[in-house]
C-alpha cells in the first residue's frame, strides 16, 4: 500500500496506513553520531570476545570460558552447530558493526566509494543475524544451570559484553538503512 510520509520530527516514526507497521523513522542520531557509537563498540568488541565471560571452580581447578571457545570446541563434533553459533554470536555482530562504522564514516566525510551500495546491502541482511541479546540471555540460563554444579565467578569479559550489548542496541535503534541510501544517493 502506498503511504505518504510527512516530514518527521527527530525521534518520530511514520506507520503504514494499512497495517500499522513502521515504514519510516527520523532517528535522533546522524551518521557522525552513529560513527562515534560504532567506534566505541569496536573497542569493546575485542575484550568482550577475548576475556572469559565466566570462571568456574571445578575439580580443584579454576578455569575461564570465553565466547569463542565454546563454538570452536564443537567444530569436530557438530560443525553446523559450531558454525551457526560462531556466525550469530561473533561474526555477524562484528561484521555488522564494521559495515555500519564504514558506511557512517563514508557519509560523515562525504566520501562515496563505488562499493558503498554493496556495504549498505550487506548491512541490511546482517541485522537479522546479529544475536548478541540472545547470547546474553543464554549466558544467564547457563549460569543458573551451572550454579548447581560448581562455584561460578563472572569474568571481565561479562562486563565488557554487557556494555557492548548496550551500545549495539543503541546503534541498531538509531541506524536507518533507508536513510543511509538516501544520503548516499543525494549526497
Amino acid at each position: 500500500m502506498v503511504s505518504k510520509v510527512p516530514k518527521l520530527k527527530a525521534g518520530y516514526a511514520a506507520k503504514c496506513i494499512r497495517c500499522g507497521r513502521v515504514i519510516a523513522k527520523n532517528s535522533l542520531c546522524d551518521p557522525s553520531g552513529i560513527l562515534a557509537l560504532c567506534i566505541a563498540a569496536l573497542i569493546l568488541l575485542i575484550p568482550a570476545f577475548y576475556f572469559p565471560l565466566i570462571s568456574i571452580h571445578l575439580l580443584g581447578i579454576t578455569e575461564g570460558a570465553n565466547l569463542l571457545q565454546g563454538a570452536l570446541m564443537m567444530t569436530s563434533n557438530a560443525p553446523i552447530v559450531s558454525f551457526v553459533v560462531l556466525f550469530c554470536a561473533v561474526i555477524a555482530p562484528t561484521l555488522l558493526i564494521l559495515t555500519i562504522t564504514f558506511s557512517s564514516a563514508c557519509l560523515t566525510f562525504n566520501y562515496h566509494p563505488p562499493y558503498l551500495p554493496k556495504i549498505l546491502k550487506i548491512t541490511r541482511i546482517l541485522i537479522h543475524w546479529s544475536m548478541l541479546e540472545v547470547y546474553m540471555v543464554s549466558l544467564m540460563v547457563a549460569i543458573f544451570k551451572l550454579m548447581t554444579y560448581a562455584d561460578l565467578y563472572l569474568g571481565a569479559g561479562f562486563y565488557f559484553f554487557g556494555a557492548l550489548l548496550m551500545l549495539n542496541m543503541t546503534i541498531l535503534s538509531n541506524y536507518n538503512n533507508h536513510d543511509y541510501w538516501e544520503r548516499y544517493i543525494h549526497g
Partner: protein, 209 residues
C-alpha cells in the same frame, strides 16, 4: 521519469514497485528487472515467495522430529555417558527447582519452533487457499514470528557455553548430540522461511477474493 504515486492505493495497482534493498520505488514498465536507484534486482512481489517459504517450512517440519527425539547433549562423567534430549533437560531443570529457567528453555526450544512452523503454515495456506482470515491478525502473527524467531537459537548458545565450561576429558565433559545439528537446521530454515515470505501477499489474497 514520472513516478507519481497516490497514497491509499496499492503500488501494484499503480504499476509501481518497491526495492527491498534501498527502499525506493519506481515504475514497473520503466525498469522491469533492476532498481534504477541501487541497481539491485527488483520485483513487485518477492519472486516465488510462497514456494520458497513452503520448501523451507517442510524442511524444518522434517528436522524438528529428530531434534526432539534424539539427545541434544551428552554429559560424560567419570567415563559414563549420560544423554539428554531437549525435553529431559527441561525435566531435570524442574526437578532441581529452577522453574523460571525451565520455562525459558521450554519456550525457546519447544514452544517457539512449533509455534513458528504452525503460524507460518497457516498464513501460507490462507494466502494460497484464500481463507479470508483477518489480515491484521495474520500480520500480527507474522510480526511475532519474525520477532521471536531469533530467540529459539538460545539453546544452541547454552550448549556452546556448557561445552566450553565442562572440558575435563573423561572426568567431566559435555558434547553436542545429533539433535543439536537437527535443531540448528530447524532454527535456520524457519528464519529463512519467515524472511522469504512476502507479507504483501496476505493483502493480495484478500482483494482477489
Amino acid at each position: 521519469m514520472d513516478k507519481h504515486a497516490t497514497a491509499g492505493k496499492t503500488g501494484i495497482e499503480q504499476g509501481l514497485q518497491l526495492c527491498t534493498i534501498c527502499g525506493n520505488y519506481s515504475r514497473q514498465i520503466d525498469n522491469p528487472e533492476t532498481c534504477p536507484v541501487c541497481f539491485n534486482d527488483i520485483a513487485q512481489r518477492k519472486n516465488n515467495s510462497l514456494q520458497k517459504t513452503w520448501a523451507l517450512l517442510i524442511t524444518s517440519m522434517v528436522f524438528i522430529i529428530p531434534a526432539n527425539l534424539y539427545p541434544i547433549t551428552y554429559l560424560l562423567k567419570n567415563n559414563i555417558l549420560y544423554p539428554d534430549t531437549i525435553f529431559s533437560g527441561i525435566i531435570s531443570l524442574i526437578n532441581s527447582d529452577m522453574l523460571g529457567i525451565a520455562l525459558i528453555v521450554f519456550v525457546a526450544s519447544i514452544a517457539v519452533p512449533i509455534f513458528k512452523i504452525a503460524a507460518l503454515a497457516v498464513i501460507a495456506l490462507s494466502v494460497q487457499l484464500h481463507w479470508n482470515l483477518s489480515p491484521k491478525k495474520q500480520l500480527w502473527a507474522f510480526g511475532f514470528v519474525e520477532w521471536i524467531g531469533k530467540w529459539s537459537i538460545l539453546d544452541l548458545f547454552v550448549i556452546s557455553i556448557m561445552v566450553a565450561v565442562f572440558d575435563k576429558g573423561h572426568l567431566l565433559s559435555v558434547y553436542p548430540g545429533v539433535a543439536a545439528t537437527s535443531f540448528t537446521v530447524v532454527v535456520i530454515t524457519t528464519l529463512f522461511a519467515a524472511n522469504s515470505f512476502d507479507t504483501r501477499l496476505i493483502w493480495d489474497a484478500q482483494t482477489h477474493e
